[in-house]
Symmetry: C2
Subunit: 441 residues, 2 copies
């Protein structure tokens, strides 16, 4: 039960500091500034007040139940803190402090785990960047991000998770929960999958893991999971696998074995960091793609062709428009539009034209790849309408919006704020559609 880890009613920050340069200050401040609605107890041997909150010298002095403890004291003090937590009846701890197994202090980590086991305390970390549950307004981490979204991000690398968090913030779609797993001494990928499978605020799970502790349990959990899972796991090359060992003492294992495990348990694997983000964003807001036939509508012929190569290489069918369809479309578009598939509206495309074309071709395709290659005003409104139609009919819509000019930025922001994911290149959008197909199978 990780309920108290992710949805605590009271939090103690062990190692809270009044010094703004210290991490023990940053984390406490982020919990406060993030708007945490529960009770917050700074713990510091000096007592006093920190950020206008009464600080206690020990967690044992807190005149209240403590659901979650966030630990930011030097490694050697962690076992003592854990004993205190046990006596206090705390059942969830995030150990941000580093200097354990990753620094060859296996013994210290074992000692901490033993105490945790004795008292039934679940542990995230050590050596991690904390957790941030935006829906519970609990940012026991950094940077402070409060935007609520649907993707749960869990990672053995704090930086990788932070990159995804930053991108989701830039896109304005946010995330549900950010979990930095660190040394993964206790809470691991299986716990994450099991917990977020049942978390109502989460629609998709993005995992960066360097190794799997128990392949059988991992596959079982993934198979039972009610949310789609995207995994990025490096160590594909021999040299990479060796680096994994140095980094988190994980065993990367044979990549082919992991690949097979993913296929068998419905996990979609990402090839790189941007795919991990793209796929998670797609899975959180779109449906699995069950069909075959893809129609591309674009204002940029070149972009359409770039998408075709990716789609066809991934086993999707960019069908050729038949004469009947072409005849239907002919009167909706400029004379110089190219009425094949892609339907190339050319640079004269308008938002209305996109809408009319999709409506006319609606029954011909199972999925639509809309590529907006020019600064087309009103594109967001068209996309919102197309997505509504597609939702009703069980079809899939993936949107690429190319270019970084102002109109693009506004339209993209509008789509994201309407929970429609947008991808920055035709190829990335096409890969997303292929991933939605893999998820659908």
């Amino acid at each position: 039960m990780l309920e108290k880890m992710f949805y605590p009613e009271s939090v103690a920050v062990i190692g809270a500091s009044a010094d703004p340069r210290k991490l023990g200050h940053t984390v406490l401040k982020n919990i406060v500034d993030g708007g945490f609605k529960g009770r917050i107890y700074p713990i510091n041997p000096k007592g006093g007040e920190i950020l206008d909150l009464k600080a206690y010298q020990s967690v044992l002095d807190v005149p209240d139940e403590v659901d979650l403890a966030v630990i930011i004291v030097p490694a050697k003090f962690v076992p003592g803190v854990m004993e205190d937590l046990g006596k206090k009846g705390v059942k969830a701890a995030i150990i941000i402090t580093g200097g354990f197994r990753e620094a060859s202090n296996e013994e210290l980590e074992e000692q901490v785990l033993e105490i945790a086991g004795k008292y039934g305390i679940r542990v995230v970390g050590p050596n991690c960047q904390g957790i941030n549950n935006t829906h519970h307004q609990l940012c026991a981490s950094w940077p402070l991000i409060t935007l609520k979204g649907r993707i749960a991000i869990a990672s053995q690398s704090g930086t990788v998770a932070a990159a995804l968090a930053d991108w989701s913030q830039d896109d304005g779609i946010g995330f549900s929960t950010f979990v930095s797993l660190g040394n993964k001494s206790d809470v691991d990928e299986v716990d994450i999958i099991e917990f977020f499978s049942e978390d109502d605020n989460t629609a998709a799970i993005a995992l960066y893991i360097e190794g799997v502790r128990d392949g059988r349990r991992f596959m079982d959990a993934a198979r039972k999971c009610r949310k789609p899972i995207v995994v990025l796991k490096p160590g594909v090359t021999e040299r990479g696998a060796k680096a994994v060992e140095s980094h988190t003492k994980s065993m990367a294992g044979r990549d082919a074995v992991f690949e097979a495990a993913c296929r068998q348990s419905g996990i979609v694997r990402a090839e790189n960091l941007e795919e991990l983000y793209d796929f998670a964003k797609a899975f959180a807001y779109l449906r699995p793609f069950k069909g075959e036939r893809v129609l591309i509508v674009t204002s940029s012929g070149g972009s359409g062709i770039l998408a075709i190569d990716v789609l066809e290489s991934n086993g999707l069918k960019v069908f050729e428009a038949d004469e009947e369809l072409k005849a239907k479309l002919r009167e909706l578009v400029p004379a110089h539009a190219i009425l094949d598939n892609p339907i190339d509206l050319t640079g004269d495309a308008t938002a209305e034209m996109y809408l009319n074309v999709v409506k006319a071709a609606f029954d011909y395709a199972d999925a639509f790849l809309l590529i907006v290659g020019d600064p087309i005003e009103g594109a967001a409104d068209t996309v919102i309408e197309v997505v509504r139609m597609a939702d009703e009919a069980g079809k899939t819509v993936v949107v690429a919006f190319l270019g970084g000019a102002e109109v693009e930025k506004e339209e993209v922001a509008k789509m994201h704020s309407n929970n429609i994911p947008v991808f920055p290149t035709p190829e990335r959008a096409a890969k997303v559609l292929a991933a939605l197909k893999r998820w659908g199978h």
Copy 2:
């Protein structure tokens, strides 16, 4: 001789319009607002004044030599305009107007070409988005971008070129010249390669082409070219090749043949739009990579491993640090840093630490991949110093800066303004290093 196309002293805009909704207005306005230093002549049958410039009813009325004509009149009027240009002695024309071969009006395009041939007029287009030479302050195109840079972008897709232009503007590195080739009726990839090979403002050429008109000439031009060339050419799949035919009536040809041609003539091929941009950006500002040994310095162990997989898959060597090197580094980094390769400084990394580590390890590596995974202040200054050292020693430095928070944006902007390209993920940076290696061979 395309000198008058890209560096004209006077420009006539045929089809200039006072109506801000018309392209003939936008293009004229962009030439004016872009700060063109030469003479500008709007041509409009109504005469009068447009944007405070005297408009002439015909180019024949202009009391001056005209170096370049930008044509934005309906397709059927283009032959007549070309005749006028011939009589006027104009030697360069950009035909923005569409409605020629791409709309199955092959005859009209042939007619235009014949007139051009008769008078010796070189033609960019038709059916294109114009050209923008930032160094000559000539934006005969849209959007208006004035930032001077070193990459020449030439493309059969206006939108693809515009995406690269937008990105280069967002990055603050700019481009030298943007050329939308459109139907490529006259000026083609060979002309582009030959011209920009000699253009002092261009350091690298980025090409998006859907077909090559003359393979032998293309390879010859590429071999002789004094600047590195990156090419994105779709139509890799059968279905994609078919779409190429519909789009620009180009013959995609067998991809394996094109691939071999690239290898033999020193062209580096990009797999997608982001690679086209990344590689061009790298080639414009970095040197070819001649060595073997890559050292990764990172604040993020996970990011380092993601980079290793890409480097090793591409034939580069992420050597293992020997005891001598580890001993040298030990005193420069925190106790918990991981002194292998990658050298993982962990989240406690400082800009100074990066610099000290690179200095200490300088003789061990031929290339450095610096991955900054956290908001590290002063990172740009360190990178600037490392690049200076590397330049003197003939070594290569590639930088990835991960995450989108404010500190990252500031540091990245500082690096770009110092002509140091920065890439947004460890994998993209690693692919860039592999591309620099291919270029080096």
